[in-house]
Amino acid sequence: MGNFMPLIQNENMKIYRRPRTWVMTGILVLLVLTISILWLIFGERSSTSMWDVAFMESSILFLLVTIFTVVIAAGGVAEEFTSGTIKLLLIRPWSRSKILLSKYLSIIIFALMLAVVLFASTLLINWICFGINANPEVKATFVGLEGVNPFSYMLKYYGLTLISLVVTVTLAFMLSTIFRSSGLAIGFALFLLLGVNSFIGLIALLGYKWVDYLLFVHLNLTQYLDGNPMREGMTLGYSLGVLGVYYVLFIALTWYVFNKRDVAS
């Protein structure tokens, strides 16, 4: 019924009117700035490529983007329940599915925004710090193969990490909907993300077949950028397929639970 846009507008208002959102964005940009300035002070400007610094910062700070987005996603539905506002939100002429969709989309938009902020700020800040009047002899070293354009490499890197980010955010959103507690959802999502991801390398060494179907083996897609996947024989297409199945599962479960649930506080 009616136009869907106002619902997204509402959810955006609930994200961006809160100081924490801007604190997170601020921290991200500030960290980019700090690392670049420290590099400028302690490293050598003449022999450093802006691309190397930008890529290094991106790979470290993208984890922060994921954490911040998980925090927002985990709060998305759970906070409406803990504050009791869910009741007034649901008694409008909108189906629960559409209300949930507006929440989900606004969180995905936030994730994209944060990634774009990181991408733009690393490029801009490092161009100012290292790029202006740079020695044309200095080449980016991170791209691996000679002659690869660092900008397109970075775009690919961001593209692949964004896919993982969307899956992770969907997982956090699902936990938020199921547990109705943002603390539990944040904790659980971050535990899976940081805890499991840190020893997934070990699990990947196991010879069992089921390891191939684990979400976390596939969550880091950038393993394909340099051509050394975690498990032998795994391809990008296969990983995307597994992620796709998980994604559909998460979405289906989230919507099912949200539609079925009795709202009582």
Binding site: P6, M13, G84, K87, L88, I91, R92, D262
Partner: protein
């Protein structure tokens, strides 16, 4: 003649093995303030939650404006405004932004209407402040504001007088009466505050342990019974009783210095005359109207949870 807006038919809610609401059937007409009265834990809020689609029904059906709440939710809820339990708002947003939030969800609400509603609930001075700085009474007003924003045909208020000061309660009461009489909407109010319901409602449904026990009219002609209990304070109780008996009334001792009798207006005057004629001093005569509270306790047999 009366137009029914809400129909509850055999509404049943079971959670596990417990039956929370048991075959509740109720019709709400437009233009009335309808009270929903029951002790704590009797199922008032559960019923309201089912009416606004927050809870599913185990059995039975609820229709609002002819649309089933389970099958045509978006159509049924379109003309409903409600506060369910406490009016919880987004604390980090201003009161105004909260209203804009709800206004966006229903097409056709202009900014002018938002301002009109703000003025109506008397929040002009603080509407730009964050809701976390509001008192409970102000939140309650904001809750009413969001409920009437889209000029609903049915207004459901769960314990609306919670946290309001006497002036606020009176204002709300007058406003609800105005809405039901002038705008012809149905107002459904739940409460366990009996005296409040008596002043506010046209009719009251009494619910206990999930069962509808009684529906009573509070105002209007059927509420006023011709005869009522009259208590007469006298100096000689014994002689007064004799006088009453001689006049054909069944008297009753009240304390040591009063008698009570069932009598209408005219016979009260006659009784008074005969008492005075018999040389009995009459200090006071008062009609004892049964309050809703008496009726309520009579019907529910006091409060029992469980």
């Amino acid at each position: 003649m009366e137009q029914t807006i809400v129909k509850l038919h055999n509404v049943t809610k079971k959670i596990g093995k417990r039956t929370i609401i048991d075959r509740l059937t109720l019709d709400l007409p437009l233009g009335e303030v309808f009270g929903f009265l029951g002790p704590n834990g009797s199922g008032k809020t559960t019923t309201i939650r089912m009416m606004v689609g927050l809870m599913s029904l185990t059995d039975g059906e609820i229709t609002i404006g002819g649309h089933s709440i389970t099958k045509e939710y978006e159509k049924a809820i379109r003309h409903v405004g409600a506060i369910v339990e406490n009016p919880e708002m987004y604390k980090y947003l201003s009161g105004y932004d909260n209203l804009i939030h709800y206004a966006r969800m229903i097409p056709g609400i202009t900014e002018h209407r938002v301002h009109e509603v703000v003025k109506l609930v008397g929040l002009e001075g603080r509407i730009r402040d964050k809701v976390k700085t509001y008192s409970l009474g102000m939140r309650q007003r904001l809750g009413v504001a969001q409920a009437i924003l889209h000029k609903p045909q049915l207004l459901i208020l769960d314990e609306p007088t919670n946290g309001l000061d006497p002036a606020g309660i009176r204002e709300l009461r007058d406003y609800l009466r105005m809405l039901s009489k002038d705008e012809g909407i149905a107002v459904f109010v739940s409460s366990h505050l009996l005296s409040e319901m008596e002043l506010m409602c046209d009719r009251v449904a009494i619910i206990q342990n999930g069962k509808l026990i009684d529906v009573r009219t509070i105002k209007g002609k059927d509420a006023v019974t011709d005869s009522s209990r009259v208590v007469i304070e006298v100096d000689q109780q014994k002689s007064a009783m004799e006088v009453l008996r001689a006049a054909g009334f069944v008297g009753e001792h009240v304390g040591t210095e009063a008698v009570a009798v069932e009598a209408d207006k005219e016979s009260t005057a006659a009784i008074n005359a005969s008492l005075v004629a018999a040389g009995i001093k009459v200090y006071g005569i008062r009609a004892q109207v049964k309050t809703l509270e008496d009726q309520f306790l009579e019907v529910t047999g006091g409060e029992r949870i469980g």
